[in-house]
Symmetry: C2
Subunit: 169 residues, 2 copies
Amino acid sequence: MEKISSLQNKLIFKAGEIASSIGLNKSMGQIYAALYLEKKKMTLNDISEVCRMSKGNISINIRRLEKWGAVEKVWGNEKRKDYYQANRDIAGFAFEHIIAAFSDLLERSRESVREAQIELKKLSSPSLSAEEEKKAALYGKSLGEFEEILGRVEKLMENARRIKKMINE
Amino acid sequence: MEKISSLQNKLIFKAGEIASSIGLNKSMGQIYAALYLEKKKMTLNDISEVCRMSKGNISINIRRLEKWGAVEKVWGNEKRKDYYQANRDIAGFAFEHIIAAFSDLLERSRESVREAQIELKKLSSPSLSAEEEKKAALYGKSLGEFEEILGRVEKLMENARRIKKMINE
């Protein structure tokens, strides 16, 4: 089995590298790859053996993977042991994750714009100099333009689910 | 102008925070926000004043922004000075950047799968035990499934440009 397990190691290592390169956690990539490749439910012990990783590290990262919907806890043969298996629909859970991250980003951007617009309104008073008036108007315009872009991205995202379904069909 | 420039500072600071939160560079977010908000071409000196950042740091990050297509160098009034302005089509350049990052990720994933498939082929010989045969077949199947997902994502990306255009219309 030496050559087979050397290939297994290489693939798991590669998955960690790819995960790192896109700003994800290396261990998450490795654990997911092990579960995906083996195509069976595994305990923390099993994963620890395949990935050569501490059970503590696996435990932390398997919880992250569960949150992503990339891995799920399942019933196993042995009682009192947690088993995990990979959600093999990578495109599906990655898509959901990306949509959630974008929604969050959009919401925070909207909030910042809203706050700035309120402050800008408070600033406008007859006491403003001509130059100040000009700056305030400029910032108001830039914020408005940015708000319009956020609206367009929001619309794109609302359509994203529909489009994904369309393409899968 | 005190209150106006305090609002300007807040907005630039916020843009840095948002950039950080999505794994981007804080300075890139701040510089872009300054150029977007002011809506005019600015020299490194101008940006340095507004962002309260060293010219060295601005210089590095403005080059990154140029690579993204988020900022462009333009002709200014003063000779021998570089002027910069924001590309205001945020959705446009962000979209291009995301597509490029996905293409790169896809290409590297395909390459890893291809390499593994070649190694797997080399492994199969009459000398393999029944257990080894089984493992090799399992890995081959998992790699095949993963390759199919990559194909679907590729198809989605090919359609992405068309879909974006559709929605903008």
